[in-house]
Amino acid sequence: MSDKKVSLKKMIRVGGYLRNPVLVHVIGICPVAAAATSLFNSLVLAGVFTVSLIICEVLASLIMKKMPRWLRVSIYVIINTGIVFPVMYYLEKNQSPVFASLGIYLPLMAMNSFTCIHSEKYAVKHSVKESFFDAIASSIGYSAVLLLVGIIREIVGSGKIAGFDIPFISGLNGALMPFGGLFIIGILAALHKARVIKNYPKQARTIEKKFTLDESREEEGTFTYNLKNRFKKNEENF
């Protein structure tokens, strides 16, 4: 695909909304399910994620195309670590409550599978501009889910919003645990799918096809991602 056909708006609609990385492709679940327990936590995670994905995708497209894959993967982790470490160091030095609340989940952002999968399946096969747009679109989709899950869990789990108490709501501890996070993601995924079925019926069929274990057993790799055809299908459907 040439650069001329790339539109950021379209990529946000497809990569961020219709094929949301968390709700549709089920990647990078760990931070969303376990660590996004408040608005501030989610903001920190979303910020770290966005910066690391943009840098990884742009660098992968720019200079890593000819490297062996096993070497590229370790470079993504080094880049992520370079972004996570200063944030972690700053929060720890200032004894921020976010640092205590995120626990080991902040350092684990360095190992987020999302960055590796996206850079490998998309960035190394496309131009810098396309990769940059893809990183922006995916970050918006991922961060939106992170923030939404964080806000819902803070309200339901702690009876607060952005640290302020909400009257008449007592916290339900379960919402702050990983199973609570997974349950909320499941409900959001169903709501998202219902909207896609209503507004984009053709896309909804593709999404359902993508998430079938039996299919992926026959053709490994299509289970989580088939980015190669992503824009071809996009053009057909819009």
């Binding site: 089920v26 990078g28 993967v73 972690m88 360095a110 190992m111 501890n173 199973f179 079925i197 490994e220």
Partner: protein, 197 residues
């Protein structure tokens, strides 16, 4: 003998009492992905056991050094990532030289080594001040926990995908999330956590 029992109890703890995938959410995306590829599950689990055990042992040994032990969490994180990347690269280089592997095997190395579960093990060991034997146990147990999680997810989702009574909006990923949430709740129950504040 007590060291052996320390190791085994740490492994059992990581598998059952506090299954790291379900109760901590570590490596859950990889477990879902592997549930779709049962043929590659055994090799992926073996690799996870290798990387997590070797990394946690090296990290624990490094912590015996006073200079390393006195560092804060951020520096420890940096050291642990460094060790993990070192182990990964050494494994890859030796495999490339000795076995001349295919692309799939090498890509499996990446998935198995560089995921949240493998880095979580040394971080948990450090925070819980585990002994060397317990570190080996959690490293080994995490690989088994990964297999258990992938099998449970795969078996459950195969049945759910055949169920026609599930509303259309819930089919596919949404029902899978809710199913994994219920599995997670089960394991939280085993560990004795309270759901209500």
């Amino acid at each position: 003998m007590s060291s052996f029992f320390d190791m085994m109890s740490a492994a059992l703890y990581a598998i059952v009492v506090q299954n790291l995938i379900f109760s901590g959410g570590y490596g859950i995306s990889e477990a879902v992905r592997m549930a779709a590829k049962p043929r590659r599950l055994a090799s992926a689990a073996g690799m996870i056991v290798w990387f997590s055990t070797i990394t946690s042992v090296i990290c624990r040994l490094l912590d015996f050094n006073e200079k390393v032990a006195s560092q804060n969490s951020s520096i420890h994180f940096l050291i642990f990532v460094g060790v993990l990347i070192f182990v990964y690269l050494i494994t890859c280089i030796f495999t490339v030289i000795l076995l001349r592997p295919n692309k799939k095997l090498m890509s499996n190395f990446g998935i198995a080594a560089l995921n949240t579960l493998v880095l979580a093990i040394p971080l948990i060991n450090y925070r819980s001040a585990m002994t060397l034997w317990e570190s080996i146990g959690t490293g080994f147990g995490s690989g088994i926990a990964f297999v258990l999680a992938s099998l449970l997810i795969g078996a459950g989702f195969t049945k759910l995908s055949k169920e026609k009574r599930i509303p259309k909006a819930f089919r596919g990923a949404p029902v899978m999330f809710i199913y994994v949430a219920m599995l997670s709740l089960t394991f939280m129950g085993i560990s004795g956590s309270g759901v209500f504040a």
